[in-house]
């Protein structure tokens, strides 16, 4: 009888814990934003380059719109969102103050499009293999992302591989 009680107690306790965790997650889902980040990268660049760039894909998997109100990184003094604009062969950049992502939508920051401009690097960037980034949301949450630094020489190698296959 006491064994049964113990087992039951353990079972109930486990379930309470289990469901309470799920409950917290659900509560979070309701009034907190869930953003899934993928493909976060920054092309390697010359050490003297005054500005670096960050690209990533952001999926808003929640049922509420989310806004990124600012971004920062311990490796840079300034981090801003920009959008490359090409009109009639003229290239320009426009500042994006707030990044809005609708419910269930995916926003892609990629070359020639929206991107993060990272300015005034600290000396620690020289040795870094990734750039830590903080995205501050309108609900007070902060998302931590690591931009993987990718060497452009990989692009060249792929281009040469591709060219080799196309050679006839």
């Amino acid at each position: 009888m006491s064994t049964l009680c113990s087992v039951l107690f353990v079972l109930i306790a486990t379930n309470v814990l289990l469901f309470s965790n799920l409950g917290l997650a659900e509560v979070k889902n309701h009034d907190g934003a869930i953003l899934h980040i993928s493909n976060a990268w920054s092309p390697a660049a010359a050490p003297v380059a005054p500005a670096r760039v960050g690209y990533l894909s952001i999926s808003n998997v929640s049922d509420k719109a989310v806004s990124i109100v600012s971004a920062s990184s311990p490796l840079f003094t300034h981090v801003d969102f920009h959008r490359t604009v090409m009109v009639d062969g003229i290239s320009s950049m426009e500042s994006v103050k707030v990044v809005n992502i609708k419910a269930k939508q995916k926003l892609i920051l990629e070359p020639s499009g929206m991107h993060l401009m990272l300015m005034h690097a600290t000396p620690d960037l020289a040795k870094a293999t990734s750039i830590p980034l903080m995205l501050n949301l309108d609900n007070g949450q902060t998302l931590h992302v690591d931009l993987a630094i990718k060497d452009k020489r990989t692009t060249e190698k792929s281009a040469m591989k591709h060219a080799h296959h196309a050679h006839h």
Binding site: P50, A51, V53, G89, S91, E156, M160
Partner: protein
């Protein structure tokens, strides 16, 4: 009788419009060969090593000149990387000395002059960076039919953006512009186009 003529008229008009649209769509090329090669004006700039760079330095070899600035995070590094991919692709079908040189014209000398050498060397040891006084830069910009503007928000603004034309001028060994290529640069198709130009094949 009148009704059917009207219908015919509308149909023909529509077909003409459709044809015009299709022709425009097909001829909207990223690669434009000039009807007649356009000689570059005489200009006096310096390269990243401080040596004079004039029209003379362009003679005897093919070059691709494009406009940019080192503080550009997205478009300029992308162009540099893509043009290198184009050159790598051409390397399988052309002699090395026939492959166009890359000449990066910095229209932001105040910020770029001190770091141009190290900035370009990172991408390729043979890339050339040229810049100079605003007056000198403007002469070449004019000759390239290009455009740029330093978008300073106030006189002491150090973090300004530079608006600039994105096309790349293809210069023949006689110092003449023969073509203009515009992004996106695809390694193989842009390479193909340039090879035809260099070999003098009508495309």
């Amino acid at each position: 009788m009148k009704k059917s003529i009207n219908s015919w008229f509308i149909m023909v008009a529509f077909l003409i419009c459709q044809c015009l649209v299709s022709v425009t769509a097909f001829s909207q090329d990223n690669n434009k060969t000039l009807k007649k090669p356009k000689p570059l004006p005489d200009f006096f700039l310096n390269d990243q090593y401080g040596k004079p760079f004039t029209k003379k330095e362009l003679e005897g070899k093919w070059s691709m000149i494009f406009i940019g600035f080192a503080s550009c995070p997205d478009v300029c590094p992308l162009t540099l990387a893509n043009l290198e991919a184009v050159r790598a692709d051409m390397g399988f079908r052309l002699r090395p000395d026939s492959i166009p040189n890359i000449v990066f014209l910095s229209v932001d000398p105040d910020r770029d002059q001190p770091l141009l050498k190290d900035y370009l060397y990172y991408y390729h040891p043979e890339y050339i960076g040229i810049t100079g006084t605003k007056k000198s830069i403007d002469i070449l910009i004019d000759g390239l039919d290009a455009y740029y503007k330093l978008d300073k928000k106030k006189p002491d603004d150090k973090m300004y953006n530079v608006i600039h034309s994105a096309k790349v001028a293809v210069i023949n060994p006689g110092g003449e512009i023969v073509a203009e290529i515009s992004p996106p640069f695809k390694a193989h198709s842009t390479g193909e186009y340039l090879i035809k130009l260099i070999r003098g094949i009508d495309s």
